[in-house]
Symmetry: D2
Subunit: 328 residues, 4 copies
Amino acid sequence: MSKRIKKIGVLTSGGDSPGMNAAIRSVVRACAYYNVECVGIYRGYQGMIEGDFENMGPRSVNNIVNKGGTILKSARSKDFMTPEGRAKAHENLVEYGVNALVVIGGDGSFTGAEVFNKEYKFPVIGIPGTIDNDIFGTSHTLGFDTALNTVVEAIDKIRDTASSHNRLFLVEVMGRDAGHIALNAGIGAGAEEILIPEEDLGLERLLESLRKSKLSGKSSSIVVIAEGDKIGKNVFELKDYIEENQPEYDIRVSVLGHMQRGGSPSCFDRVLASRLGVKAVESILEGKSNYMVGMLNDKVCLTPLDQAIKGHSQIDQELLRVSDIMTT
Amino acid sequence: MSKRIKKIGVLTSGGDSPGMNAAIRSVVRACAYYNVECVGIYRGYQGMIEGDFENMGPRSVNNIVNKGGTILKSARSKDFMTPEGRAKAHENLVEYGVNALVVIGGDGSFTGAEVFNKEYKFPVIGIPGTIDNDIFGTSHTLGFDTALNTVVEAIDKIRDTASSHNRLFLVEVMGRDAGHIALNAGIGAGAEEILIPEEDLGLERLLESLRKSKLSGKSSSIVVIAEGDKIGKNVFELKDYIEENQPEYDIRVSVLGHMQRGGSPSCFDRVLASRLGVKAVESILEGKSNYMVGMLNDKVCLTPLDQAIKGHSQIDQELLRVSDIMTT
Amino acid sequence: MSKRIKKIGVLTSGGDSPGMNAAIRSVVRACAYYNVECVGIYRGYQGMIEGDFENMGPRSVNNIVNKGGTILKSARSKDFMTPEGRAKAHENLVEYGVNALVVIGGDGSFTGAEVFNKEYKFPVIGIPGTIDNDIFGTSHTLGFDTALNTVVEAIDKIRDTASSHNRLFLVEVMGRDAGHIALNAGIGAGAEEILIPEEDLGLERLLESLRKSKLSGKSSSIVVIAEGDKIGKNVFELKDYIEENQPEYDIRVSVLGHMQRGGSPSCFDRVLASRLGVKAVESILEGKSNYMVGMLNDKVCLTPLDQAIKGHSQIDQELLRVSDIMTT
Amino acid sequence: MSKRIKKIGVLTSGGDSPGMNAAIRSVVRACAYYNVECVGIYRGYQGMIEGDFENMGPRSVNNIVNKGGTILKSARSKDFMTPEGRAKAHENLVEYGVNALVVIGGDGSFTGAEVFNKEYKFPVIGIPGTIDNDIFGTSHTLGFDTALNTVVEAIDKIRDTASSHNRLFLVEVMGRDAGHIALNAGIGAGAEEILIPEEDLGLERLLESLRKSKLSGKSSSIVVIAEGDKIGKNVFELKDYIEENQPEYDIRVSVLGHMQRGGSPSCFDRVLASRLGVKAVESILEGKSNYMVGMLNDKVCLTPLDQAIKGHSQIDQELLRVSDIMTT
């Protein structure tokens, strides 16, 4: 155990995701277990700059393992993008006696952590918290599993009314650059077609697929669409396009929106958060820095932060094939 | 018991709502209990015109009490608005030996039932099935309670992310002409403001209310808006308006959409459906016609169909006052 | 408005139920609306004796409308059954300047409130909070609706495995003296038989009913049993009895237990809590005392506390008949 | 692709688990994709002996991806343990032209499959379907993830009432030989102590841990116990033991029971089922036999059936350590 580390700071940054509270709890409890002090930093890097700190012990994290959102709040900080902002943040950390930082967030947050680490040699460890699952170095990010359940439960409800009315529903889910939510939730919800940013299906093939589905006797259809799908049209333009080309369809649009970011985390996300939080603290105490903790090959592991940022979380080709078979 | 009734037809019409299957099940089981035959009619009045009928016994309705949607499917029928359509429908009913009809749907469906009853003296009883709760003669329509739970669960999730980011969310819920969903779900979700079609709050008062909420230390806010609110702007225009007048707000919009129509019915809706289904069959067997069954004053009751159609389901003034007190 | 009332105390007592927090919130917000101070009393009457008080304003009740349990905690107090205990409690109230009391709980809690009111002429208003729905003077107690949804969701899950294996499940639900949960959840879950304390079905008729259900082709069965059913056997004895007399059954027992008391309240319970809390405060301010607020005939109303305690919440005969028809 | 395979049979056997329907659907759709016929066999091996077969196409598996239980039903078959039973089963398969078998179930079901394969050189592939996660060769069995969510949701509810009353709850979860559910759900639910079959914590240490938890200011506690925990007492005996030795505790027991086996599968289980079903069919078409498909190291993979049966799904030591840190 590194002797220098006496106090660890923890913050959440960027878009919130279910499981962030469970990760905070894990960091706090692991600190207590290893007799290290723990400080919560509010509103991400902005709170670090403003000195919005609070000492945290096991009592501070009672009954939060099952809560969505983040008790430490989150924010995007423009000030932290300036050297002056980071200097002020560093000053505050030093003043509070904080020796190392656990940053829970996505790749934007990790970029900030890396810059800060470079400038001040300040030990940082990242925990991947985002529903999008678009981080390299972990099979699952915190909140991804919960978001998938939120999406399939919503589509299960939409399916009820779609079947009752023989309608076509276009359901937009989150994922501006990554189709992980659309692909997994689309398979899970039994969607008739799935559109993701990583693959250009083409409008013609979509129409063809809908025609085939109708011919096969299916009376209702669900198309799941990632926000950033390659087809180059938003979900309302897509509706217009299909209506022009296939006027027999009675089409409805549903944009699931921000409810995908909230909710009580699934057991999977709570356990993942507990494992990653412990690993983050233990890594710091072993003198490691500038890594992201994650799960790969069913094991907790470390990935250098710069790889986590630059790398790309690929869509699994086997899963794409399963999707093709399920939606045929 | 009327001697003439040997076979009762049942159909679902208009927008589907959770609890319709439980009501179908209740009608079928009540028919079996009273030794009357029961015929399911698919796709509402359209299936009646096309002769899309199926005999139903208790086995046909096993394991549907908890399913959303309607196994009899629903549709809107333009043909039934013509005398020729209704003549064909009547012909089919006579041919199949159907003596009376249970129509599960909203006021559009009841209007069709009433016209049909007038023309052919055909016994009809309506069961109010719509999530909007906008039918006179019943404190609750089938599906209203389930939709409320769907909405508050969604807003609970949105609240997680709103609190984490200190944001203002505008959440649009269903209810084109009636604010029942917005008012009840708004109170249930602890919304900071509720906009309904029945009341013109005024844009200025909304801004004032948001300002007060911010001053009181609230860092995030949820405004629940019925589709057809009086304010004369849709939810996206409202966002623009607030942003122009209160640029400090970070605003997000969420349109909950069609998931509100689906889902496994709540226990309340299942029990309500069971009671109304039994009452519908018993009323027919007692020789009654042209009524809607409903719940008023904690009792199952009958309301003449024309009153149910013309009457208006008023917003409860006491509930409005409670809403004012809760959102102050 | 009574001039004397400047500070209202609120407490939760007896078994907790979902919606208690929403009721606390409503009392606190109504006090703020009417410019009356509000004091939360922890752990029911015991905290009143021990002076465990805390001033509450709107900020104290942020984000609790959707939380199960009670932030004021609950307890049963033996000390409050003694004159000395009540004297100490009264002393504390006077010292803190509390002029009136809102008691959220069941009939045991109301009995305490009534005795206290008699001894000290202290204004008290009761809010019925119990999942059992066994209070006279209200169609719904706080938590009843939520508990019903918890029970039907659990039985829906059990039905999956019962159907897959052609099994008979005996499911015990809460309700020592009252069959409201068993009757409503039994109908809602589509149970094949329902046993409640209010009705002695007789063991022979139960066996007969199971035989008929099997003959009719049903391969699996759910029997819902209230804790205190009249049949005089607990659920495990009942299992043994059926196995002896109908050895062909593969029987499983499930006792749903305390999860029925918890969980995020349904929208119904949240709205009910909001209405009753406002009415409680307004009644106090109108100079009323020794009443319970409740919902009857779709309206908020008052019932003298002694009637609420002595009266009995009858099982609705029409609902019993519906149950007979649904389970035949 | 093996030329001999023209028709694949699929059955579910042993205890049912959520995701079995999604796996059936995947097998059927994969067969259609590869132009192979598919036959559903009802009630596991017993239906195979009785010739209870049905041809299945994509239409047969519409709208089942989200359903708990198994539409093919399940059963334990004593007849299949006899050579005569297996001979009859083989005869039926040959008569129906079935060339290969996909068996969805646990290790008992796999043992039957392996014996059958040995005797008749009949191609078999297993899909691990059990909530217990006790199968070697896969990180997750079908239904495990869903059961974990069911358990944590139930304990979240119990926590509400435990916190309100300062009580100790002993919650028994499924897992006769394996502590996977208890360990993961215990961590996920934030349990204060977790007892599993793989680890003998000792009664004294349990009491010690409860004492420490109380001293640390925790007013309520949840202990999660696997059915088959090593401590050698059932949950009711454990309650008596703690009450004798720590009479200050107000203890309640909750046995979650069979609801853990049912319910709509999580997205994780639906996607897992889809992947494993496709892999099972593709493996058969590649001429493979006597394997179980599973997920290891984030990849779909094959494990010889005999290893899957004899091997043991170990408790992850890192997870045990996380559990120790979280419950300290």
